[in-house]
């Protein structure tokens, strides 16, 4: 059988040691954006590590760490404009923080409180989507709305490698192709879907090439290289905003953590693989480059770490001091207007007011 030849481009500027392997784009001459990326990634990692600590000490629920894959969402969080819409997945903390979620919203959400997704500053961005890949349909719908309204904005839809196997994702790609929707699909390929390795998700050499099925341009980028990410995402967003349709970007990253705090990756993941992956992680890489180009020093680093810790500490306090929701809230948001039958159930609940405290921790 003839297998058609496919060449998916791969984009990378900095190697694992932070050394340029190609001439850097002009915008890097001014370090501001790269410094911003660095600060955001560092902050996100502090937020992330604190979340794990909160979970370990029984102060928060199951949490999926984004450690190691901060670069992707840091870059798109910055590049998205006010009226673009982000449809994230659950490891996009760095992006969410730049889009109007407060740090304490992250903790509230993973602490089992709906109000983490409620803050008005989140505008029309979508909240975390737990059923894998279903958000791809929402993203395509938002892009359709923009098309109907002749808005020149874009929707960015993010997901993991596992998500690319699910019909929702593929149906949405197809629609983006046929309706030329203003979208950017970013696959954060962190090599694992819980315990299932990338090679058991898909037989194709790249996940980016799923775009080919839909007639979409596609590219692979080093997902630990903020410069490559910036180039690819910026171009794709502009493309989308000016009516040229959607792009599929596969960012190659690595999940340095367990799948969630309820998972133990040592059961299925070779420790050598993890060791190798640590050599490629995005924060150290950018830091090295910034150092070598005299944009960074120990003093700045220390100041940044202190600022980040203070911010996170404040958010933790706010989170822990947030009073529980009144019971009525459990009923009041199912419909704009509560139906009579539900109203009586609400009264029943208010009068019951007790209940059993459940003990077990989640297994995911």
């Amino acid at each position: 059988m003839i297998t058609p030849r496919v060449e998916v481009p791969f984009l990378q500027y900095l190697d694992e040691k932070g050394a340029p392997i190609a001439p850097l784009p002009d915008w890097t001459a001014n370090p501001d954006i790269l410094l911003h990326y660095y600060r955001q990634m560092v902050l996100a990692r502090v937020v992330d590590q604190k979340a794990i600590a909160l979970q370990r000490t029984g102060q928060m629920g199951t949490y999926p760490s984004c450690m190691g894959q901060e670069a992707v969402s840091t870059v798109f969080g910055h590049l998205l404009q006010h009226d673009d819409v982000l449809v994230p997945y659950y490891r996009d903390v760095p992006g969410q923080l730049q889009r109007g979620m407060e740090i304490e919203d992250i903790y509230l959400y993973w602490g089992g409180d709906e109000r983490g997704s409620a803050r008005p500053s989140q505008r029309k961005d979508f909240p975390n989507c737990v059923p894998i890949a279903t958000q791809a349909g929402h993203a395509a719908g938002i892009a359709t709305a923009m098309r109907i309204r002749n808005q020149h904005n874009a929707v960015l839809c993010s997901c993991g490698d596992g998500a690319t196997s699910k019909g929702d994702f593929l149906e949405a790609l197809n629609l983006a192709g046929v309706w030329q929707l203003p979208m950017v699909f970013i696959i954060n390929n962190n090599q694992w879907a819980i315990s299932v390795p990338r090679k058991l998700q898909c037989g194709a050499p790249t996940l980016a090439q799923k775009g080919i099925a839909a007639g979409l341009p596609c590219v692979q980028v080093d997902g630990n290289d903020v410069i490559a990410l910036h180039e690819a995402i910026d171009q794709a967003l502009q493309h989308a905003r000016c009516g040229k349709g959607a792009t599929v970007i596969e960012a190659i990253t690595y999940r340095l953590s367990d799948h969630t705090t309820a998972d133990d990756a040592t059961r299925y993941r070779p420790s050598e693989e993890l060791k190798q992956a640590w050599l490629k992680e995005p924060i150290k890489r950018l830091q090295t480059w910034l150092h070598q180009n005299d944009h960074w020093d120990e003093g700045k680093e220390q100041q940044l770490q202190e600022e980040a810790s203070a911010k996170v500490q404040k958010a933790v306090e706010n989170y822990l001091n947030t009073p529980h929701q009144p019971i009525s809230e459990l009923f009041d948001y199912h419909y704009a207007e509560i139906p009579p039958g539900l109203e009586s159930q609400k009264e029943e609940a208010l009068s019951r007011m007790t209940g059993q405290a459940a003990g077990q921790e989640s297994s995911i």
Partner: protein
């Protein structure tokens, strides 16, 4: 303002025209809803009048249709999605259950889902397999959804307008067996009918007949036959399955003391179970006979050559009513 007599499916079309004319946020999508005007003609002339941007032929993918409707609704549009037959709605369940029903609650009102999902349902039109489903119970169980099932041209018009204007997701199920069964004058005045309210079609003190969808037709025929025998039945068209208006039903049964629930769907775990359970417990002291459920069997709708053995006739209803009346 046209007052010509129209069918149920024409009333659906008229409501869509009205909504799209008066509200730019209303858009229509689905398979074959554009040039073809829908396989049942429910969306006829919409594309011509409102253009390709607002009347969208989608690729063949029900999961996607639901998913993009949710996305559009979150941005303030009011999508009216057509699922070609209720038998093909299941691929949309994950989206409807996990997202449409929950977006408001999940974001504490920051994002909402004012969408409508229309689908023709029920058997009796000699259609192939998977074209005769009545699985309204599966949707009614889900908190956050509303489920509406009109049974006349006028109610189709008024309830569809209400569904489109509703700030929450509404599943709008159209009884295709009676799509063209009767014609009524339906003023194109934009007047909504209330969602969440039963319609009492006939008043009577002897027994309460509770039904919805296409079965309303046979139930009214049965009412007629009973009347000729001197029995005055009250006929209630539930119309909104969720949220359920138990008040109207209970008020009736507390007067009549007897109740038959008639539906086409399979009996077990059907909508009739909920109504029977509520009537039995809340009208416990006024009931003079067990609540009777006259429903489809717990089988897959037979292929069409035998489907009439599955469907209920007015004779079956008359008999069930009489048995319930005779109960001592």
């Amino acid at each position: 303002m046209s007052e010509q007599r129209i069918t149920l499916v024409e009333a659906v079309n008229q409501a869509l025209h009205y909504s799209m004319t008066h509200d730019d946020n209303v858009v229509v999508l689905g398979e074959d809803v554009g040039t073809n005007g829908g396989v049942f003609r429910a969306t006829v002339d919409l594309k011509e009048k409102f253009g390709l941007k607002r009347v969208m032929d989608t690729p063949l993918a029900e999961t996607l249709i639901a998913g993009i409707s949710i996305g559009m609704a979150s941005q303030g549009l009011k999508p009216v999605a057509e699922i070609q037959f209720m038998g093909f709605i299941f691929a949309a369940y994950e989206q409807m259950i996990s997202h449409a029903a929950r977006m408001r609650n999940r974001t504490r009102g920051r994002l909402t889902c004012p969408m409508v999902m229309r689908a023709p349902f029920g058997g009796g039109i000699h259609a192939p397999e998977h074209h005769s489903e009545s699985t309204e119970a599966l949707l009614a169980h889900i908190p956050g959804l509303k489920v509406v099932m009109p049974s006349s041209p006028r109610r189709a018009y008024g309830l569809l307008l209400a569904a489109i204007n509703d700030p929450d997701p509404v599943i709008f199920l159209e009884p295709k067996r009676i799509y063209r069964a009767v014609k009524q004058p339906v003023p194109d005045d934009g007047k909504e009918l209330p969602i969440g309210t039963c319609f009492t079609l006939k008043q009577g003190d002897d027994i309460t007949l509770v039904t919805w969808g296409a079965c309303v037709k046979e139930t009214l025929e049965a009412w007629q036959q009973l009347k000729q025998e001197g029995i005055n039945a009250e006929v209630i068209d539930v119309a909104t399955i969720k949220p359920l208006d138990m008040d109207t039903i209970l008020a009736s049964v507390s007067r009549t003391g007897r109740c038959v629930i008639i539906h086409e769907a399979a009996r077990s775990f059907g909508v009739g179970a909920e109504i029977a359970a509520e009537v039995s417990s809340q009208a416990f002291l006024s009931l003079e006979a067990p609540v009777r459920r006259l429903t489809g069997y717990d089988i897959t709708m037979p292929y069409y050559r035998m489907e009439h053995h599955y469907l209920l006739s007015s004779k079956d209803i008359v008999q069930a009513a009489k048995e319930t009346l005779e109960y001592q």
